[in-house]
């Protein structure tokens, strides 16, 4: 009993240390950016607005990975809700746009819940089911909006992105859902069930954790966040873009950010602050390279190297942790 408590404390401390390290790395990147190209409110706004959709997707991926799953369709869901909302919002008033946004968020949660239900009931691995649904959502997006287009109300864009060089609106827009979900994960039985399920499926089952409920909840939260990501994309570009490649890149980046942010791909471990900070860090690397006159095409390569290194270090830490 004592041993398990100790192990739990150890994993807790490790997680805190990891989040702290992520934050520190982010602050270092900010310092470098400030030195080489400035980091004024306009730049902060650029960072927060251009990564807003990705931030939502990373939160979605984070919740699902904590629950022991993985969702390869988060990007496709974002593209679908981007196209859907851009098509419906075109030429509408601000009020109607808000209604459409609310409807889209609800629909996202439902789609997610359905995905979770299929995975839980069929027993087919998450990676297969979400790979397939990803193709379905990409196809639907093209059906809704065959070519880039659509639109939205200017007030909706301002609400999401802020006016002038304000960066608080997108930050609050990311923090509020993040805090609510953090509360659900940490303080409700459904949320704790997600952690339990991800940590050890068998043990959770034996302990009487309702696995179906936990899995459906995780995917429903994920779907809701993906819909928010789609709405953020609509606000950012003022329209919809059905390119499936954009969704694929976003999916992969969300997995990378989740890993960098200290969520174990094996499930059950990690928080939500780390991954969001990791998304910003991944944005800053190419931005710094651009500011220093290096072709940002190399930025992608450097990002990849950073991910490999961090995962390697993470693996070392875990191995050392087990030895204790």
């Amino acid at each position: 009993m004592q041993a398990t408590t100790m192990a739990a404390t150890g994993s807790m401390a490790r997680r805190q240390a990891w989040t702290g390290a992520t934050l520190l790395a982010f602050l270092l990147l900010v310092a470098v950016k400030a030195q080489s190209g400035g980091f004024d409110s306009f730049e902060i706004q650029t960072m927060v607005t251009s990564t807003l959709a990705l931030g939502y997707l990373t939160l979605a991926q984070g919740v699902i990975v904590i629950g022991g799953g993985i969702d390869l369709s988060v990007g496709a869901q974002m593209v679908l809700f981007n196209c859907l909302s851009a098509r419906l919002m075109e030429g509408r008033s601000f009020g109607t746009c808000l209604l459409i946004a609310a409807g889209a968020t609800l629909a996202g949660a439902l789609l997610g819940a359905l995905t979770g239900l299929v995975i839980a009931r069929s027993g087919v691995p998450d990676i297969i089911v979400t790979l397939a649904t990803g193709f379905v959502w990409s196809g639907l997006a093209l059906f809704v909006l065959p070519t880039p287009g659509g639109g939205t109300a200017l007030e909706f864009q301002t609400l999401v992105l802020g006016s002038g060089t304000e960066f608080w609106p997108p930050l609050v827009g990311l923090a509020v859902p993040g805090l609510i979900i953090w509360y659900v994960l940490r303080r409700t039985s459904a949320g704790l069930g997600i952690y339990a399920l991800g940590s050890d499926r068998q043990a959770a089952f034996l302990a009487g954790v309702p696995a179906l409920r936990a899995q459906v909840t995780a995917y429903a939260i994920g779907g809701l966040l993906c819909a928010l990501g789609g709405l953020a994309a609509t606000a950012f570009t003022g329209g919809g873009d059905p390119r499936a490649t954009a969704g694929m890149t976003a999916t992969l980046t969300s997995v990378a950010a989740v890993v960098l942010g200290g969520i174990a791909l094996t499930g059950g471990v990690g928080g939500l602050l780390g991954p969001v900070v990791a998304v910003w860090s991944l944005y800053l690397i190419p931005a710094i390279m651009l500011a220093r006159g290096v072709d940002p095409a190399y930025g992608e390569a450097v990002k990849g190297v950073v991910i490999v290194l961090v995962v390697l270090i993470g693996g070392l830490l875990r191995r050392n942790g087990r030895k204790t």
Partner: protein, 359 residues
């Protein structure tokens, strides 16, 4: 205790690595960018030019970026060129443009990925005194200057040359680009407009090459092998592989209209019994955009739109141009009209070097 020390050590190591990676990314270039972008009134040789391109690995686009660098260097008015170059759509391009703005650039040369979605960020740039020039394709933002090749004229001039060469009668084939692309629509419009004046010329076949050289060559082989009599071919720039198709089959050459691709120019100059015309679609448009931006920064009045009328080069009327714009050591698809007078001031060597000021 010991293992946890290792952990802290590993973490610290990781952070240092991250930081040094970010820091050494700079490659030693420590010149500060132009600071506050006030646009006019700066001393010479201090302008910073930003470039935004969202199609990477395309030869024409790379040449376009090189022409921006070459013109910046040749003008003597630019201290630095910052290139934001990656594959993407409007989402990526908006972020890139915003980053260029916060780098303190004085002008931005952008090949837009969307005619409308960049408008808010273009307005933000303008509000900070930055000159924005959309090259190759237009944007609807009234704050931006537009510098583009006139694609309707591209189709019309080539069509007229073909009709005149065929003396007003015969069967022609139209080999288009990508269905739905704005440039393809414009060229098609100009081409059909030109041929409508020649009732005895029939368009017997219309195909889309997808602007793919090998695909276009294959389509030409299939066409020439079919029973359709072909007296002339108009192409939307997929040209030298079409000429090769005649050679492969050993059929007598029909007149072909193409673009200013290096190898096609070589064929016009040197293939016996072949008549062709190159209609220019210069990638040097980036250099023209840079010249226009520098004019605007120097306080000159520049028109909102600059459209380049293509030139038609054939052996009979413009041998000098063909000779001057063929570069044996460049690749076959190199856009051979390397300078656009009177706008650009760089030499072909400066373009080939692809180096901006301070590089």
């Amino acid at each position: 205790m010991k293992p946890s020390m290792t952990r802290v050590g590993a973490l610290a190591g990781g952070i240092t690595l991250l930081a040094s990676l970010a820091a050494c990314g700079g490659g030693g270039d420590t010149t500060t960018p132009g600071g506050a972008a006030t646009g006019q009134g700066q001393q010479q040789s201090s302008f910073v030019i930003g470039v935004s391109n969202t199609l990477v690995g395309n030869g024409w686009r790379e040449e376009m970026i090189c022409s921006v660098k070459a013109e910046s260097l040749a003008s003597g008015k630019v201290s630095k060129v910052i290139v934001a170059n990656r594959n993407g759509g409007p989402t990526e391009q908006i972020a890139d443009l915003r980053q260029l703005i916060s780098q303190g650039v004085n002008a931005i040369i952008v090949n837009p990925s969307d005619p409308d979605k960049l408008n808010p960020v273009i307005k933000q740039a303008k509000d900070r005194g930055i000159v924005v020039v959309a090259v190759d394709q237009a944007v609807s933002a009234p704050e931006a200057l537009v510098v583009a090749n006139d694609q309707v004229a591209y189709g019309r001039l080539g069509g007229e040359w073909l009709a005149k060469t065929l003396e007003g009668k015969g069967n022609v084939v139209e080999m288009r680009g990508i269905a739905g692309a704005p440039a393809d629509n414009d060229r098609h419009k100009g081409f059909t407009e030109a041929l409508s004046k020649y009732p005895d010329i029939k368009i017997v076949k219309e195909v889309f090459t997808g602007w793919d050289y090998s695909k276009g060559g294959q389509q030409a082989l299939d066409l020439l092998n079919s029973s359709t009599a072909v007296d002339g071919i108009w192409t939307s720039g997929i040209d030298y592989t079409v000429v090769n198709a005649f050679k492969t089959l050993g059929k007598p050459y029909a007149p072909v209209v193409g673009a200013d691709n290096n190898e096609f120019i070589n064929q016009i100059k040197s293939v016996d019994g072949f008549t062709g015309a190159a209609v220019t679609n210069p990638a040097a448009i980036g250099g023209v955009g840079t010249a226009v931006a520098l004019d605007a920064l120097s306080g000159e009045q520049v028109p909102r739109e600059t459209f380049l009328t293509p030139e038609v080069w054939d052996l009979a009327t413009s041998k000098d141009k063909l000779d001057a714009n063929y570069f044996p050591d460049r690749e076959a698809t190199f856009s051979a009209r390397v300078t656009v007078e009177p706008h650009t001031s760089y030499t072909p060597e400066q373009l080939f070097a692809c180096k901006g000021p301070g590089e």
